[in-house]
């Protein structure tokens, strides 16, 4: 217990340090105080928040999904929840409603897509009891939305395709100062909601039947978990684009390092390490900027994918 607490404390300290480091690294010497102000509030601060919230939020939603489906390979990406958000965004971007972008249109549609996908998965999970079947449906759904996006792309103008392509690469730098409160609010709601679920999450570790025997209202908790995931994945995908592997890798790392299934500790770990991971990736990208520029999705995949492959190999 002590060791775990110490690890989390250390993680919190490193995260704090990284925040300062990020602030240092993104600093650009500017000519006037007013400009420095704009740079901070409109560029560096939203970028910092993006990294923190996207990292923490995606890890948290990954943890919830892995718990719900009792499969360490689950995550908002695998279950098609990101795909839902991606699809509605594609409809918006490529389907000729570009005026709604950057306003509530993007967030709204992304949230809607995530919710619809989550609802769909909820319905499927009600019919298909096996987790593997569910994951398969999720993957099918993801490839289905992918092909619809391709069809849309063939109709859209090159300008729209370019815009969608860029959004698809993921970015921590598109968030504006005005959007920060929205992202933070959605994140906070999701976080508080999931804190109320900790007891149920711990029970869900034993499977839904056992959780039921332990007094968990399983239907309600299942719904809550999917709704929280939709809230997190939807809002983050809307503002930062689809970011791969964070949701999948961080909770696994948490269980591995902490050697626990106590979701109180795991949630704290996911929040801290998820934020730290994306922040680290972003610092790295700033550091590498003079040499070459890597979209955030490339960085997270470069680090996340080998880790997941290692996990799979170790398990089999």
């Amino acid at each position: 217990m002590n060791r775990k607490g110490l690890l989390l404390l250390l993680l919190a300290l490193v995260l704090l340090l990284s925040c300062f480091l990020h602030i240092q690294f993104t600093e650009v010497s500017s000519t006037s105080a007013a400009q420095a102000n704009v740079l901070w509030w409109e560029f560096r601060f939203p970028r910092l928040i993006s990294a923190l919230v996207a990292g923490a939020g995606l890890s948290l939603s990954g943890l919830l999904m892995q718990n719900l489906f009792r499969n360490p390979m689950a995550g908002p990406y695998v279950l098609g929840i990101n795909s839902g958000a991606s699809l509605t965004t594609a409809l918006l971007m490529l389907g000729g409603f570009p005026l709604m972008l950057h306003n509530f249109g993007l967030v709204g549609s992304s949230l809607l897509g995530a919710f619809l996908a989550a609802a769909f998965m909820f319905f499927v999970s009600w019919r298909v009891q096996q987790t593997t079947g569910l994951l398969l449906v999720g993957l099918m759904f993801a490839s289905f939305t992918g092909s619809i996006e391709s069809v849309l792309q063939s109709w859209a103008s090159p300008e729209q395709v370019k815009q969608f392509f860029l959004w698809n690469m993921g970015s921590l730098q598109q968030l504006s100062a005005a959007q920060v409160p929205w992202l933070l609010t959605l994140f906070t709601v999701a976080l508080l909601w999931s804190l109320l679920l900790i007891r149920s999450l711990n029970a869900f570790v034993l499977g839904q039947d056992q959780a039921f025997q332990l007094g968990v209202r399983t239907q309600r908790v299942r719904f809550s978990m999917l709704a929280i995931t939709a809230l997190l994945a939807g809002s983050i995908t809307a503002y930062c684009g689809p970011i791969a592997f964070v949701g999948l890798a961080i909770p696994n790392l948490g269980r591995q390092l902490l050697r626990t299934q106590d979701h109180f500790l795991l949630i704290i770990f996911c929040l801290l390490f998820g934020a730290l991971f994306l922040l680290g990736c972003d610092i790295l990208s700033v550091y590498l900027e003079p040499y070459f520029s890597l979209p955030i999705n490339v960085l997270t995949s470069l680090i996340g994918a080998p880790y997941i492959a290692y996990l799979v190999l170790r398990r089999s």
């Binding site: 993104t26 650009v28 010497s29 500017s30 000519t31 006037s32 400009q35 704009v38 740079l39 409109e42 560029f43 560096r44 570009p98 005026l99 972008l101 950057h102 815009q163 860029l166 690469m169 970015s171 730098q173 504006s176 700033v286 900027e289 520029s293 979209p295």
Partner: protein
């Protein structure tokens, strides 16, 4: 005041000392500016040699004896070069009708006289053959090499066009000579090019009515970066030739340069003019990237060709004098007749 005169003198001197490319003596190369294209007279026509800028050792060369009647092209720029020589009737296939400007060719495509290949990346060999294509001009980045090899194996002459890799606008325009040779209009092309060069030089020496060299930025936000022509590109050359102090003139490179958006913003207070942001209106710019509103130069003058993009892509390469004339008028602030550019109204 004296130092200003000195500066002016220096600038004029810099302009005069153009790269008069030194050529090996043995061949009578008819191209003066191009670094990649050489055309030498041969006994029954021309020897055309084209250097691949990616692999300088690799040289495409062929002996041209007979002009081609049916030519397929894979870039709008090539269409423009043919138009400049009034040889549109030799076209048998164009890359994509959505990007066409020339009304004559548009009409021909509509009537089915010219094939629309739709995609330069995935060539329809069937379409090319159905049109009895004799020669294909392609951009270096266009179709896959395997496709080109296959086309060459069935007897089609496939000519790479690296005009977009040239570092001087006149070198770019000089590729019109290639099209002159291909269509049997070499002398006309030479005449044309000579005229362009004269115009270009005349505009370059027009008086600069600005007190100093205005700081000019170019390019736009792409993803998380600012993309702009690098210091040794033909665009940067155009800017230099109208005495613009180009924002990225320390960023070496002949293609594009990438910078962090924040660094561009941080050092942009002196910028008075923004060229080629890639959108036709300020509203469209904000819609593409809302944070443009924080850039000081967003509130300054902005010029772009995007109100008629196809026209620019088709004709700017063959008409560097027009581009320079536009820039010169923009610099002096007395805009009379712009060919390509249009100001984005505040």
């Amino acid at each position: 005041m004296r130092s200003l005169w000195l500066l002016l003198l220096l600038v004029v001197w810099a302009c005069e000392s153009d790269p008069q490319p030194q050529r090996p003596k043995q061949a009578k190369n008819l191209c003066k500016y191009s670094e990649l294209l050489t055309i030498t007279p041969a006994k029954n026509g021309f020897l055309i040699q084209i250097k691949n800028p990616e692999q300088p050792k690799e040289k495409f060369s062929f002996q041209l004896e007979q002009p081609f009647m049916r030519i397929a092209v894979l870039s709008a720029t090539h269409v423009g070069m043919l138009s400049a020589l009034e040889q549109q009737h030799r076209l048998c296939a164009i890359p994509d009708k959505r990007y066409l400007h020339d009304p004559l060719i548009k009409k021909a495509v509509a009537q089915g006289k010219v094939a629309d290949l739709k995609s330069a990346q995935q060539l329809s060999i069937k379409k090319l053959l159905a049109r009895h294509t004799q020669a294909l001009v392609f951009s270096g980045f266009g179709p896959e090499q395997t496709q080109i090899k296959r086309l060459r194996s069935i007897g089609l002459t496939c000519i790479p066009n690296y005009e977009w890799r040239e570092t001087h606008p006149l070198a770019r325009a000089e590729w019109v000579l290639l099209f002159g040779a291909l269509t049997g209009q070499f002398e006309k092309a030479q005449q044309y090019f000579k005229q362009v060069c004269q115009n270009y030089k005349r505009i370059r020496t027009l008086p600069n009515l600005c007190n100093s060299n205005p700081i000019v930025i170019s390019g736009y936000v792409y993803g998380d970066q600012w993309v702009a022509p690098a210091a040794n590109s033909f665009e940067a050359r155009l800017y230099a030739d109208v005495d613009f102090a180009y924002y990225f003139n320390k960023r070496a490179g002949t293609g594009s340069c990438f910078s962090s958006i924040q660094s561009v913003l941080a050092k942009s207070t002196g910028v008075v003019l923004w060229l080629n942001p890639g959108q036709p209106t300020r509203a469209a710019l904000l819609q593409q990237y809302p944070k443009y509103k924080y850039f000081p130069f967003f509130k300054k003058r902005i010029f772009c060709y995007t109100h008629n993009t196809n026209f620019y892509w088709e004709c700017a390469a063959a008409h560097p004098d027009w581009v320079l004339s536009d820039l010169s008028q923009i610099r002096n602030g007395n805009v009379k007749k712009l060919h390509f550019y249009k100001e984005l109204r505040p």
